[in-house]
């Protein structure tokens, strides 16, 4: 059979963003692939060298436009390591709640984009409907629908508004029922099962070796999660357990396992925020003023030369990491070097290689099941 290269992207529904997958095919079978990234490289790391530590947060929001809160939090933990800031416990609870609400919104965005790839358009409308609930809640915190600029070095920008707790509990409880609706629709849909089961196998050791992390690895049967392995925030005080899926083959997890593990993660996030809002120090229906010591501790603004900060954070797509070196311009007011580790930057080249041996029609299912986001990939 004749072999040829097909270029998928940069504008192709499979890519979920701007990048190119070059596929070498033999008939219908994929025999080689190459990923090309960098279409929306903005040079965030370079820009941040000319911004002081508080000005960096909005850039980190914009790294991933569907998961801004987790990326900003990830940066904030690295900056706190560098600047040796203390955080009040109430602020840690609020960060946990905001990050988990963002995880729900991000997973819904993923499911809503993944459904049409597989041929289920209803799923997109349902997910967009439910995502609105969480965007509204995040808007109450940060004042914006996408880029919140909410966490601060040493706390959070402002406290949860009065009535936020009740609205959140109502929405999350409603959403827990909606998850069951999703499962009823998807787990019994023949198209969904045929296109996802038995496709895109990868086993756990192979993925760890290649640098894949987060839900994609948990789908292969190990409950490793940064939230307990390198703990931050107050995840040890609230009720949850890491989502984990049993792989169906010796070859590891398939696309269906990766879908299941994200559904389970959404359940756990719901469970977490419902518990956290009851346990929050200072009460769920109190609103402290911005800058109050319950939600904010003043942090140093300069870092000396030689100081470093590092954070390892469970983002919605895997472990996001920041590494900052102090001692930049303005006598240490700006970072000398800020380095960002994006989980998808490592995952996309790996996924491209796992497609080898499958059919061309399986590419959207395999790629979509890993939840690519190009904003964070290209930085």
């Amino acid at each position: 059979m004749a072999q040829m290269w097909i270029t998928m992207g940069p504008q192709h529904p499979m890519t979920h963003g701007l990048w190119t997958l070059r596929v070498k095919v033999d008939g219908e079978t994929v025999i080689d692939t190459e990923a090309e990234l960098g279409y929306i490289h903005r040079g965030v790391e370079k820009i941040c060298e000319a911004r002081d530590f508080t000005q960096v947060t909005p850039y980190c929001d914009r790294l991933c436009y569907v998961s801004a809160m987790t990326w900003a939090n990830s940066y904030i933990y690295a900056a706190e390591d560098l600047l040796e800031a203390d955080v009040p416990e109430r602020a840690e609870y609020i960060r946990l709640i905001s990050a988990e609400l963002q995880r729900l919104a991000s997973h819904l965005m993923w499911l809503g984009a993944f459904g049409p790839d597989i041929g289920n358009l209803t799923l997109m409308t349902w997910c967009m409907r439910d995502r609105e609930m969480f965007l509204d809640l995040l808007q109450e915190l940060g004042g914006s629908r996408m880029h919140y600029n909410y966490p601060r070095i040493g706390g959070v920008k402002r406290d949860i508004p009065i009535g936020f707790a009740d609205r959140m509990i109502a929405k999350v409880k409603l959403f827990e029922k909606r998850i069951e609706e999703y499962e009823m629709m998807l787990d019994e849909s023949t198209i969904w099962l045929v296109r996802l089961q038995g496709v895109g196998y990868c086993n756990a050791e192979e993925m760890v070796e290649a640098g894949v992390s987060g839900p994609n690895v948990r789908a292969a049967g190990v409950n490793y999660d940064v939230r307990w392995a390198h703990p931050y925030s107050v995840y040890d005080e609230v009720d949850w357990e890491p989502a984990v899926e049993k792989p169906t083959s010796v070859k590891g997890a398939d696309c269906y396992d990766r879908y299941r593990v994200r559904i389970e993660e959404m359940r756990q996030s719901c469970r977490m925020v419902l518990d956290a809002i009851e346990k929050i120090p200072g009460g769920k229906n109190t609103n402290y003023a911005s800058g109050d010591e319950m939600i904010y501790t003043k942090a140093p603004t300069r870092a000396p030369e030689g100081a470093t900060g590092f954070s390892n954070y469970e983002c919605t797509r895997g472990a996001s990491q920041f590494y900052i070196e102090g001692g930049g311009e303005g006598r240490g007011k700006k970072p000398y070097r800020l380095s960002i580790r994006s989980p998808m930057f490592i995952t996309i080249p790996f996924v491209a290689k796992t497609m080898i041996g499958y059919k061309v029609a399986d590419i959207p299912a395999i790629m979509g099941s890993f939840d690519p986001c190009i904003g964070e990939t290209d930085r």
């Binding site: 960098g38 370079k46 086993n203 049967g221 703990p231 070097r337």
Partner: protein, 217 residues
């Protein structure tokens, strides 16, 4: 209820790893220290300082003897003002993760507080200083950790540090037709607007700063 690795488990694992490295490589210029984070839960990690020529030996020991299976991040830094022995810096962030292949329909569910010995996740930071010259280079670890592959490509692309022996090196974030020797995170390249005041004065970018003249477009 949620779980976490306790500070005692963390301290035990970190001490064990640091001692193992110090014992094995004593006298070679490699030294491992225990450093405490000052964020979140104040956990400790192992910081290893190594000369570039011993990096591959150290990496093999970490990977095959100590089970460090995850190369998460490589950061290159340019210090043009630095002393002769430190013009470039490399920071590798590595993790030991207790992850293994599973049989069908089984899964490993760890309970953090009950993990022992080599199961406990540990974070490593490996620092390498390179001499202050125009052609910084360091041995590759691409064949040791697959995850180092694209991290090394990115570090070369953005910072310009060569990885000796790295196969199939190409630009991953900059355009493929960028000029040779253009690595934007080197400190001689300035961004056009260095401050927000400049940005408001010259929003359209008509007035170029003198610092931009050496900039490769």
């Amino acid at each position: 209820m949620g779980m976490k690795i306790t500070l005692e488990q963390n301290a035990a694992a970190v001490t064990e790893c640091a001692d193992a490295i110090n014992d094995k490589f004593s006298g070679s210029g490699i030294s491992a220290d225990i450093v405490q984070h000052s964020n979140a839960k104040k956990y400790s990690f192992v910081r290893v300082v190594t000369p570039p020529q011993h990096w591959q030996a150290l990496a093999k020991c970490m990977k095959f003897d100590m089970g460090v299976n995850y190369c998460s991040m490589i950061t290159g830094t340019h210090y043009p003002e630095g002393p002769d022995e430190r013009g470039w810096g490399l920071a590798y962030h590595l993790l030991r993760q207790p992850i293994s292949n599973q049989l069908p329909d089984t899964s490993t569910v760890y309970v953090a507080e009950k993990m022992l010995g080599s199961q406990i996740p540990v974070e490593f930071e490996v620092l390498i200083d390179l001499p202050n010259n125009d052609a910084p280079s360091v041995p590759t670890v691409q064949h040791i950790w697959v995850g180092a592959d694209w991290n090394e490509k990115e570090t070369w692309d953005l910072v310009g540090i060569q990885f000796e022996g790295h196969e199939n090196m190409f630009r991953v974030l900059n355009p493929l037709d960028s000029p040779d020797g253009f690595h934007p995170l080197q400190k001689q390249h300035k961004i056009r607007y260095h401050d927000y005041n400049e940005m408001y004065d010259d929003a359209q970018g008509f007035v170029r700063k003198p610092a931009d003249e050496g900039r490769v477009k």
